[in-house]
Symmetry: C2
Subunit: 434 residues, 2 copies
């Protein structure tokens, strides 16, 4: 029995899925026991040349109509966006008893629990390996391979654009603006890069991973978000001198007070393998009570890697049987996502300050840290005094703290700010523990 696929969205990923399924009919049939054929497609522009042969395939103008069609068994949604028509089409497919495969992280971050409930009520499922970290099989790993573990942390480099920019800044000493322009020229960044560089894209992926890891509802709004635009070459250089790399990490951690979720520039010790993940690659690590830690590295985006993940999900569906619950445990049993407050975050911090070079300035800073019981692991003073302008000298000072809480570090930095011994605002970057 052929498995009939309805494919909505024929952008670069959709066209790759179409090509891959068409070229590898026998290859795939050997692996899932049946033929897989795209029988219906839908996209906005029928006339556009996508380099694929759509003859013999039913064209639909409306993805909802394709999703509702009796001529398909599985609906593949590659339209994107958290709203309609993607959302309406996915709901229609699930409601009509069809499993869905999607790469749409925005839709899942916004409506994943509702869609999972709908799927499970209808006895179908949603495959979304392609929605998180592209070609890296992190969904299958969390949902199946390490399902016997209690997960305590899932974290990773979830955005290739940001990792490309930070890697080039560090390796080549090129400014953020120039790296971003190169990333746009190479197709690694959108014309409007806000969504990538401010961390929203990583946040969508992290919210899905956190739900799957901890058995809680998806809570995208709970994510503490900081992008990479404030990271300077000096930060990267100083971090490197101190044995760290700066990565935009998404981190979800189970704490005593709830789930902490954050997407922030983070200091990663060079001794961790994740520090060595460079360029557009993504990486995701999982800490579990039995496995300690495993890490997966690979292409987080790109049409072929994403298509590979979509096809992997289709092969699972083609084999049939009883898939795992969409979010690891039945959606109706997902726990409420109890948020840990960022103020309760515990860890070391990198603090960069521009300090007036005058008597007592540094002593007042050290005192403010001590008042909050923050102890310092290292202090690095950068730059030379200017003998021609002694009154206006400002020295860069970088502090690495021992473990403390976010509440303490924020209190200390507020006091330092109000003391008037520094210029501008302090830079603060969290250090991720191994």
């Amino acid at each position: 029995m052929t498995l009939r696929i309805g494919l909505a969205g024929l952008g670069t990923v959709g066209a790759s899925v179409f090509r891959l399924l068409g070229e590898k009919v026998a290859h795939n049939a050997a692996r899932c026991g049946r033929e897989i054929r795209v029988t219906g497609v839908c996209a906005r522009d029928r006339a556009r040349d996508r380099g694929i042969d759509l003859s013999g395939v039913t064209w639909h103008d409306d993805p909802v109509a394709l999703a509702a069609s009796d001529d398909i068994d599985v609906f593949v949604e590659l339209i994107g966006g958290e709203g309609d028509p993607a959302a309406a089409a996915v709901r229609t497919a699930l409601s009509s008893g069809k499993s869905v495969v999607t790469a749409n992280k925005a839709l899942l971050a916004a409506s994943g629990v509702e869609l999972a409930r709908l799927a499970e009520a209808r006895g179908v499922t949603i495959g979304y390996e392609a929605a998180v970290a592209g070609g890296i099989p992190i969904i299958k790993t969390l949902r199946e391979a390490v399902a016997g573990n209690r997960v305590s942390r899932v974290f990773g480099i979830l955005n290739g654009t940001c990792n490309y920019i930070l890697t080039r800044m560090e390796k080549e000493g090129i400014t953020f603006e120039d790296c971003l322009a190169d990333a746009q020229r190479l197709g690694y960044a959108e014309a409007d890069p806000t969504f990538d560089i401010e961390g929203n894209d990583s946040a969508h992926k992290l919210a899905i991973l956190a739900a799957l890891a901890f058995g809680t509802e998806i809570d995208t709004d709970a994510i503490h978000l900081e992008g990479i635009t404030a990271i300077t070459l000096e930060d990267l250089e100083t971090a490197a001198e101190l044995g760290y790399r700066i990565k935009l990490l998404g981190v979800a951690r189970l704490t005593d007070t709830g789930v902490e979720q954050r997407v922030t520039p983070t200091m990663v010790p060079k001794s961790l393998a994740m520090a060595g993940v460079e360029g557009v690659l993504n990486a995701v690590a999982v800490d579990g009570d039995e496995i300690d830690e495993i890490m997966l590295v690979g292409p987080g985006a790109g049409d072929r890697a994403t298509a590979s993940a979509v096809v992997g999900d289709i092969l699972d569906l083609a084999r049939g049987g009883n898939p795992p619950p969409v979010l690891g445990i039945p959606a109706k049993t997902l726990g409420e996502a109890k948020r840990a407050r960022m103020r309760a975050h515990e860890g070391g911090y990198y603090i960069r300050l521009a300090v007036y070079d005058r008597p007592g300035a540094f002593a007042s800073i050290a005192t403010r840290m001590a008042e909050q019981s923050i102890s310092l692991e290292s202090i690095v003073q950068k730059g030379q005094r200017d003998p021609d302008d002694p009154e206006n000298n400002v020295r860069r000072v970088v502090l690495i703290t021992h473990e403390t809480t976010e509440a303490q570090i924020r209190a200390a930095l507020e006091s330092i700010l109000s003391d008037g011994q520094i210029v501008g605002r302090p830079q603060m970057i969290r250090i991720e523990k191994p």
Copy 2:
């Protein structure tokens, strides 16, 4: 409906599986839709204290009897060894229509294809995630997640003992013998470490991965095997100076003339993430036509990580449905494993020679390389001339070649040996391409 497990072998892994299943009944049921219970066990010594409560569980003295029992649904084989009783018990379980979960790489390397055929004839399956790289889900990744890819290479660090030894030798300058003694003291190496350090353990795992990656029969005998005992501190140090780390890699590659399989000490460029995988960790990378390359890193051994993989397989079976073929494609359709000859291997080489310090010695070596059209990327001369003993001076010379073939490098080294300008045999280490 409870899934009833028969667990044969109660060593450290078996006891961990028993404990994990017992402690996490509700956790696991939420993930697979039913209860999982160990109902029968079997081990050699009933009296031994394993720190687990076996009350309410049927004890068997004979694993074959447990495998045949009607009181279990799935047979978990953690006895080990390629022969009986493990082999007989697995055959019995499959023949009686029970799926098997095993961590037994030796058994699969020796009889995997036969067992896969038996399983598929009976409509059952074999889960063996724990047999290759412990807690790293490489079987699931190859068999399911990247099943839509044509794989061109699978390679990795498959033995934690060897990686521990090589890492400590390089980082701390400790000799092979001292590192091995420490590994034995810490429980990372057996009292008789031959199987690990000569590469046999890695070979078993590689043979399974190669079959799965390329859709060919398991061909353990085809693996070109070199252990790590000949690697010196000087090799590690020189490699590091030249930008490489030396790892015991298992590499299976599809070439124009067949499948090349080798387990050898290998120079890995430091720029590759795999070079940074240290200590007892394992890592496996897969090159596919759609994903380019993904890499998985994690604990390759240890009772909890191995138990986690066993439980992952049990959860898959508990969900039911139609598992993928044991070796990725139906066992009866596996291709014959056409061996690529090692002489046809193409790549760069590290060559270390002890050269007499006399006129013409180095010229003759360079001439022999040139005769085989081998060009050199770098030449490093180590050590100082001894002015007190000019006649017996020997200088260490390390050559890094550009890409050539194994046939050419072997011919050149044979000529160099017969010229009598070097002491002892040359050291030759292959360089792995990114």
